[in-house]
Symmetry: C2
Subunit: 225 residues, 2 copies
């Protein structure tokens, strides 16, 4: 019963675990956190929220977000509905977090999982990263095979498309390698020089993400438009 999309359900629970939110904001966060990979519309989100409530994983609260203190106190106007994770919901999410299946390695599932690595145990993180990597390696083999098999009949553009596709996958594999290495390093070097004092516990080098040069120059841009 209630075998919903998985991905959306998972992401909603994950976001709400961090803090209660109403649908509209949820959607925005959804489309930036999972970024690039997935965008959901209201027509998908709101019905999903309903069923999550029906499952007892969320409760609806009348708008009580910080800025709404005033608005909420006023009479019977349609307040924002703020969704909050219940204890059962939290438990359920915990379960989802630790479980891995064959879907986990697919593009969108993986992105969703990764987005919540901050709340995932290292053991599971490793499983997910390695699973994803071998999934991609399978894919690469298939591509290589099909390239050598059908090489002659393909025109230059198709070939170029294929080549670029393969390079993308190879690039992701390298990325995963870095991440896996970092995770391993994080496990081995217990106590890092100044861990423990920082306020964000996944920051610093304790969590062990590789350092990258910022892709974003200061760029004080106006608005998204």
């Amino acid at each position: 019963m209630s075998r919903r999309s998985g991905i959306l359900e998972f992401a909603v629970l994950g976001l709400l675990r961090e803090s209660p939110m109403h649908g509209y904001e949820l959607r925005k966060r959804l489309n930036t956190s999972l970024g690039v990979f997935r965008a959901f519309s209201y027509g998908t989100l709101y019905p999903c929220l309903k069923t999550l409530v029906a499952n007892g994983w969320l409760i609806e609260e009348p708008g009580s977000a910080p800025e709404d203190a005033l608005a909420a106190s006023l009479a019977g106007r349609r307040a924002k509905i703020v969704y909050r994770l219940t204890a059962e919901g939290k438990e359920h999410f915990e379960e989802l977090l630790s479980h891995t299946g064959p879907d986990t390695w697919e593009d969108e599932h993986f992105a969703a999982r990764f987005a919540f690595f901050g709340q995932t145990e290292r053991e599971v993180r490793m499983r997910v990263l390695e699973g994803r990597r071998s999934r991609l390696e399978e894919r690469l083999e298939k591509m290589r095979a099909s390239l050598t098999r059908t090489r002659e009949r393909l025109d230059d553009y198709t070939l170029e498309l294929q080549r670029h596709g393969m390079e993308s996958v190879e690039r992701e594999v390298r990325w995963l390698n870095e991440l896996i290495e970092s995770e391993r390093a994080g496990r081995d070097q217990r106590r890092s020089p100044e861990a423990g004092a920082a306020q964000q516990d996944t920051s610093g080098d304790a969590g062990g993400l590789p350092r990258h040069r910022g892709t974003t120059p200061p760029d004080p841009s106006e608005d998204t438009k």
Copy 2:
């Protein structure tokens, strides 16, 4: 009427334009030519073929592919159905090829378009490549904006996901730049040394694709499994 998926219809027509084929083979080619990006199942393909036939763009022929000469000559056994593009179908495809809309720049549409660049006029190719590029640049701006806006509240993993996503997009932009440059170069240097004699007219350097080191080592692999 009959506003089918677009992408599948387009790809089917494009593949059949090169040579007649039956459904099973069509699907395989579909899933390698468009590669990485899209995979269709029979449940999608066969009904689509039906409607294309109904539209008069394809005709069904009893199996007459090279290897089937014998099989086809035998009595009333269920032959493979080979699909062949009609004149109307060809015309329709031609139209699709030269038309560009807002969808054209999206991931899957673009991949499909690119896969048939060999049959596309250079002018249109340029339009598609440049359209895609500016689509991606829009995307980059949004990402940058959202990064600078919400920087503080995101944990390291989410940030890393975003960073990797952005790099992927930036990489594709560079790829497009190369391609666009090649196209332009191809336009200027009219008559290349030995154009005209080769059997594949999009091969050689006339089309002007950038040279890349082979990503595929010889690797004589068994089968795709």
